[in-house]
């Protein structure tokens, strides 16, 4: 996979972090910190589908909002096409938003419930001061509806009149109105039935082809991510523990947590459950994390050094990266 030379990097994230101070007691003194996203660095190639997978508290949703600067980070940089997003003024940032969009998790509440679908989809043009005649507006909205598999009749409905899958399609249509180059999808199918999920995934596959999009796909479902994405980032408690190509994730994971995630998958094939004992314990509270590797408390291979200092992300030997002193299946 000789990608690095031919791939153009569209997004570059360096040392991105955000922490929240937690205050308590009568005087509301600072009693600790929650490092929602801690020192995250990676890049996304143009036209790539990059997946981010992890369980609750891993910071994947926060990461998405940081990249789009819906939350201000404490540290780090987000570069899009050479421009550092974090340094832009509010006004320029609003214009920049045209190129980077997001599809949100809960399709049930993404649109203003008082707006018709048509009005919601037409709104981005208004917001970005793109002047259109009534005819032009109608045509653009109808084209977008068609693009996502909805009819112009759907434009006359209100969000609560549509099914979950239809709402998600409408949301995708709205997001595409400004012809973005980069789209983040934050658990876009988590709230949908599996058959509807398949429809939306097929839609995304088609759109990515037609519109040459670069996607960041966030999900807790490792099977889905490994099917849909080219590369996968695995996160745990705000840190990246592994970056690996999607084809290799099932065969050759390097980080013990990645392996645990794979082992916890229930395959729809009877009798194929791995006999390995599932990972014990639960994701600890992100509040005042002890030093050392974030996964050490649950890792069955943990050694003293793991509790001392957090390992850095390093090359894993097959094109990916892993943050572990004793990676599995190492070459």
């Amino acid at each position: 996979m000789e990608k690095s030379n031919h791939m153009e990097k569209i997004i570059e994230i360096k040392n991105l972090s955000v922490s929240f101070a937690v205050r308590g007691g009568l005087l509301l003194r600072k009693i600790g910190t929650v490092k929602a996203v801690d020192d995250v660095s990676f890049s996304i190639n143009k036209g790539e589908i990059l997946g981010v997978v992890g369980e609750s508290g891993c910071g994947k949703s926060t990461l998405a909002r940081l990249i789009l600067r819906l939350i201000e980070p404490t540290r780090g940089s987000v570069t899009f096409d050479g421009i550092d997003i974090l340094k832009l003024s509010k006004k320029v940032l609003r214009q920049q938003r045209r190129h980077m969009q997001m599809v949100f998790q809960d399709p049930y509440s993404v649109m203003d419930p008082r707006y018709t679908i048509f009005r919601s989809i037409a709104e981005p043009f208004q917001i970005q001061n793109i002047r259109l005649t009534t005819e032009e507006k109608r045509k653009k909205v109808d084209d977008l509806l068609e693009l996502v598999g909805l009819s112009s009749e759907h434009g006359f409905s209100y969000p609560h009149e549509l099914s979950g899958g239809q709402k998600q399609r409408a949301d995708i249509a709205r997001m595409l109105a400004l012809t973005p180059q980069f789209v983040i999808l934050d658990e876009p199918t988590a709230a949908l039935d599996v058959s509807v999920q398949a429809q939306i995934i097929k839609l995304l596959e088609g759109l990515r082809e037609r519109l040459d999009l670069t996607l960041l796909f966030i999900s807790h479902d490792l099977s889905l991510v490994s099917y849909f994405c080219d590369r996968v980032i695995v996160m745990y408690l705000g840190r990246i523990v592994e970056i690996i190509s999607a084809d290799l994730i099932g065969k050759n994971p390097h980080h013990p947590y990645t392996q645990a995630l794979i082992e916890s998958i229930f395959k729809a094939v009877p009798g194929e459950k791995s006999t390995a004992a599932p990972l014990e314990g639960e994701v600890p509270s992100p509040f005042n994390l002890p030093r050392g590797c974030v996964f050490a408390s649950r890792c069955r291979y943990a050694q003293p050094i793991c509790l001392e200092q957090a390992p850095d992300l390093e090359e894993s030997g097959d094109g990916g990266q892993v943050a572990c002193y004793f990676p599995l299946n190492s070459n």
Binding site: L68, L70, L93, R94, Q95, R97, R98, Q101, M102, F104, Q105, D106, S109, V110, M111, D112, P113, R114, E123, P124, I127, Q128, H160, E161, D171, R174, L178
Partner: protein
């Protein structure tokens, strides 16, 4: 219940609009000879101490109550919505300052505030409308602030922000329109309150000046003749009660109607 309320309000509106046509006598025409006469066929609700027809004056009073009620509530709502939404949206120091001002206004009795304002601007209908408007805005500010606080982290607000929307667009095109229902309901009931306050001010002589027949002024006037011509107090009082009841019933029914509209279908 709501139907009764709607009917009562519609009656009030009708009477208010068509007052000059409905009143059998001009509300001003005096006839000293028949002063303080009880209800009769010629004067359905009797006459007052100047011989003016009480019925006509009650009808004319409806117009005043309606105008005062609606206008003053309009003023309160506009002030309340602006203050409350800015406080809720921006939070922080702005919120603290604005909420404190609202709380201070809230904790002072409306009568006191109204009296103070009328004392400054002088008695009269305009002053009354302004005074009532400035006394009652705090509750609307509170209502909308609460709604906006909970709504501003809604997913659709975040989604619209990610499209590049400015604070102004978010506030005026999405947050406020979605937060108005409780305000509308409160305003409807607030019209009733405003009418009562107007009557109180009128009773104290601070409201509309004679010969303008505000119900409160009529009642104030009538206290001197309580045992001689009680109809001077009874009928304007009754009219006021029925009107306020109408608005309250309507407001209650409105709560249910608005709820259904906003609920998702099951």
């Amino acid at each position: 219940m709501g139907v009764i309320g709607t009917v009562l309000i519609l009656c009030l509106v009708f009477v208010a609009i068509f007052a000059p046509l409905l009143e059998p006598y001009s509300y001003q025409s005096q006839n000293i000879e028949i002063m303080n006469s009880p209800p009769s066929l010629t004067h359905l609700l009797g006459t007052d101490d100047f011989g003016r027809d009480v019925f006509s004056r009650v009808i004319r009073g409806a117009r005043i109550s309606f105008v005062v009620g609606v206008l003053s509530v309009l003023i309160s709502v506009v002030i309340g919505v602006i203050v409350g939404s800015i406080a809720g949206f921006y939070g922080g120091v702005v919120d603290i300052i604005l909420t404190t001002i609202a709380d201070l206004t809230w904790s002072m009795p409306a009568i006191l505030i109204a009296l103070l304002i009328v004392a400054v601007t002088g008695a009269g209908l305009e002053s009354v409308v302004l005074a009532i408007g400035l006394s009652y805005w705090a509750q609307y500010a509170r209502l909308i602030r609460g709604q906006i606080l909970s709504l501003k982290s809604a997913v659709f607000i975040e989604a619209t922000r990610s499209l590049g929307a400015s604070d102004f667009v978010l506030l005026f095109k999405h947050l406020i329109p979605n937060s108005l229902s409780p305000v509308i309901v409160a305003a409807t009931i607030g019209i009733g309150n405003a009418i009562v306050l107007e009557a109180t001010l009128g009773f104290l002589g601070m409201g509309a000046q004679p010969p303008t027949p505000s119900w409160g002024a009529m009642m104030s006037n009538g206290t001197a003749y309580l045992f001689i011509a009680p109809w001077m107090i009874i009928f304007p009082g009754l009219a006021m009660m029925i009107t306020v009841l109408g608005f309250n019933l309507f407001g209650d029914a409105l709560i249910d109607v608005m709820d259904i509209k906003n609920k998702d279908s099951i």
